[in-house]
């Protein structure tokens, strides 16, 4: 039966080529957009290396210092009572924050106050965003470097192409070694094969390349660097500075996802218990520990309230997605309805010979899924082409979009849903037709 439906679906497509072309264009273009969104979403928010375990992580980005003072507000109302002026006063005790300072953590602060967490299984402290410009053979090479401790490699599962990560020994001895991305190796050494064991100049130091990793396909700064260096090779003052603010960040790994709230709570309580050395400058210390979704949302919108940022992003994405799917779906429903209505007599004949409404519904939804899948294949090929062009043109230099298994699976689901939704209403409508009426008024 399905073969019969398939034959018929293909025949119907071939019958009105102009209509089919418009229909397929609409479907493939919509699915192309959805697939691109999916590819972008997967690259940025998916559980891909080196952030495979990000669901078990708590991220610490910034430390907030505030000088807060109680602020009493008096309100005095005046009125006339028996010809005499009367006064009624009320007061509210609020808070006045007269000074705020937000920045990343110092190494000293992290080490001293968050170095012995009870609820986390593992943790790493690192400092990213160090840009070095190297001039090599009359070329300027800009390198984004990140300094980290040895635990960094246990939390973030980079794909090593060659060599190994630096170890606790390297960090302890401040060994001038480096793990670099294959992209940087190609730019700096000409090819990634020749990079291992070579020396690379970063700042005032020369580091020996001991490992090669694939570049992280995300914009997340905590993994998006090109050169990874032992934390102790950073300028000494950054490690020794006892000020609270610095340029370090921290990530805590939970044994299981359910422990994330516990880690957040422990971090918040430990940080808020810290007293600033000069309370007349700042008398409150706080931080916002974030899970992975909140961190990405905070990067895009509001660093100070990542939970709210996440809600806004979800809402905006949801509305955009709804419009992207709803409008073409409504259009397709309309087109399908007129296409299916042309086949009223066929429906009459099928019902006369034993098809019931459910069978007719099934047939037309199936046909629509076939058409959607053809549009989906076209959309998929277009998506692959567009993804290639986006990556090749470096429009999004930090991001490598891929059409991988996850995107393919999502695309299949999108095709299926799109096919069912846009076919269901027209199919349901025609399945209710009365046989005698449609046979009387229609010719095949």
């Amino acid at each position: 039966m399905l073969l019969n439906y398939l034959k018929l679906a293909l025949k119907v497509l071939g019958r009105n080529k102009f209509f089919t072309a418009i229909s397929l264009f609409g479907i493939s273009f919509t699915l192309l957009i959805l697939m691109l969104i999916t590819a972008f979403y997967d690259a940025e928010f998916g559980k891909n290396a080196p952030l495979t375990e990000k669901d078990r992580m708590v991220f610490l980005g910034s430390l907030k210092l505030e000088l807060a003072n109680p602020d009493t507000v008096w309100t005095i109302d005046s009125t006339l009572m028996d010809g005499q002026m009367a006064y009624d006063s009320t007061f509210t005790i609020g808070e006045d924050v007269s000074s705020t300072s937000i920045s990343q953590f110092s190494y000293d602060f992290l080490n001293k106050h968050l170095g012995d967490m009870e609820t986390s299984a593992n943790q790493t402290f690192f400092s990213g965003g160090h840009d070095y410009d190297i001039f090599l053979d009359n070329r300027k090479i800009s390198i984004d470097a990140l300094y980290a401790d040895e635990e960094y490699w246990n939390l973030f599962d980079f794909e090593f192409v060659a060599g190994d990560p630096f170890t606790g020994g390297h960090v302890r001895d401040a060994s001038p070694v480096a793990v670099i991305t294959t992209d940087l190796a190609e730019r700096y050494f000409g090819s990634s094969e020749e990079a291992m064991g070579q020396e690379i100049e970063l700042g005032s130091r020369v580091h020996k390349v001991i490992g090669l990793v694939e570049k992280a396909r995300t914009t997340a700064p905590l993994v998006a660097a090109e050169a990874f260096l032992p934390l102790t090779t950073i300028e000494a003052r950054m490690l020794e500075d006892t000020d609270f603010h610095g340029n370090m960040a921290g990530v805590f790994m939970a044994s299981e996802k359910a422990d994330i709230p516990l880690i957040k709570e422990e971090v918040s309580s430990k940080v808020s218990a810290v007293v600033y050395p000069t309370p007349e400058d700042y008398n409150r210390v706080s931080t916002i520990p974030m899970d992975s979704a909140e961190m990405f949302a905070g990067m895009i919108l509001d660093q100070n309230d990542p939970a709210k940022a996440l809600s806004i992003i979800r809402l905006v994405f949801g509305i955009l997605l709804l419009f992207f799917v709803l409008l073409p779906t409504l259009n397709l429903i309309n087109m399908n309805l007129s296409r299916i209505m042309e086949r009223e007599a066929e429906i009459g004949v099928r019902k006369a010979f034993g098809a019931h409404s459910g069978t007719i519904l099934y047939q037309f939804v199936f046909e629509n899924i076939i058409i959607t899948f053809i549009g989906g294949v076209i959309g998929m090929l277009l998506a692959m082409l567009v993804l290639y062009l986006i990556n090749d043109s470096q429009v999004l230099p930090q991001l490598t979009l891929r059409f991988n298994g996850t995107v393919f699976l999502y695309s299949l689901i999108i095709c299926l849903l799109f096919g069912i939704i846009s076919g269901l209403l027209p199919a349901w409508k025609v399945s209710r037709l009365q046989i005698a009426d449609v046979l009387k008024s229609n010719q095949l």
């Binding site: 034959k7 004949v349 010979f353 034993g354 046989i435 095949l444």
Partner: protein
């Protein structure tokens, strides 16, 4: 085989009520070939549709192959039509996008019949109407007579108890009309299939066992 009792059919619009069938009671025996005649608009096709369970009477009872029919829209009625009834229409109603073979297989799609068996039965039905050599053709490649023969093959492929034919020769010239009539008579005689046929053609009606005449929705003969 088929019994109608006090069948009334009224078509209603907002302002007009039209009585299409008026108290029709009729019985068709096993193996009988019955023709229904009457002027245009007298209710012939409506009566045939009611017999074929593709239209519902306003009043009255209908019994087909020993079974009382109550709900015309149910899944069970669809299955009943599929098992017991075959249809031939004046304008053939073949699906142009399907080959002759696929058209003939249509009633079997709604039964639990494997594809090989479906194909064998469809080829057999096409052989009976002399069109096995055209099974790969499409309806648009056939003449009117050939189309109606394909429609007959489709009607008989499921070996129904009753064939309901609505002016099967109405769109054909006399030669082709006679060919189609010959096939129907042969089916009736050799396989004992009960046939009810609506026709305008007196000559065709005379070749059947019994004639029922309708006038303004009432049975006059």
């Amino acid at each position: 085989m088929l019994t109608l009792q006090n069948i009334n059919k009224v078509y209603r619009t907002d302002t007009i009520e039209t009585l299409a069938l008026n108290n029709i009671s009729l019985s068709v025996g096993q193996g009988e070939f019955l023709s229904i005649m009457g002027p245009s608009g007298c209710g012939k096709s409506t009566l045939l549709n009611i017999m074929g369970l593709i239209d519902e009477p306003t009043q009255g009872q209908i019994e087909v192959a020993g079974q009382q029919i109550a709900d015309y829209n149910s899944k069970a009625t669809a299955r009943f039509r599929n098992q017991h009834l075959g249809f031939i229409f004046q304008s053939f109603h073949l699906i142009n996008d399907l080959s002759v073979l696929d058209n003939v297989e249509l009633p079997l799609l709604y039964r639990k019949v494997g594809s090989a068996e479906r194909r064998r039965l469809a080829e057999e039905a096409l052989e009976q109407v002399g069109l096995k050599n055209r099974m790969r053709h499409f309806p648009s490649q056939l003449s009117g007579g050939q189309k109606q023969r394909v429609a007959i093959a489709r009607a008989i492929v499921g070996r129904p108890d009753i064939i309901l034919a609505d002016e099967p020769t109405g769109n054909l010239d006399s030669v082709m009309g006679n060919e189609v009539m010959d096939i129907l008579l042969r089916l009736n005689e050799s396989a004992g299939t009960t046939i009810v046929m609506v026709t305008h053609d007196e000559r065709m009606a005379k070749r059947t066992h019994r004639l029922v005449r309708l006038f303004d929705g009432s049975q006059v003969q």
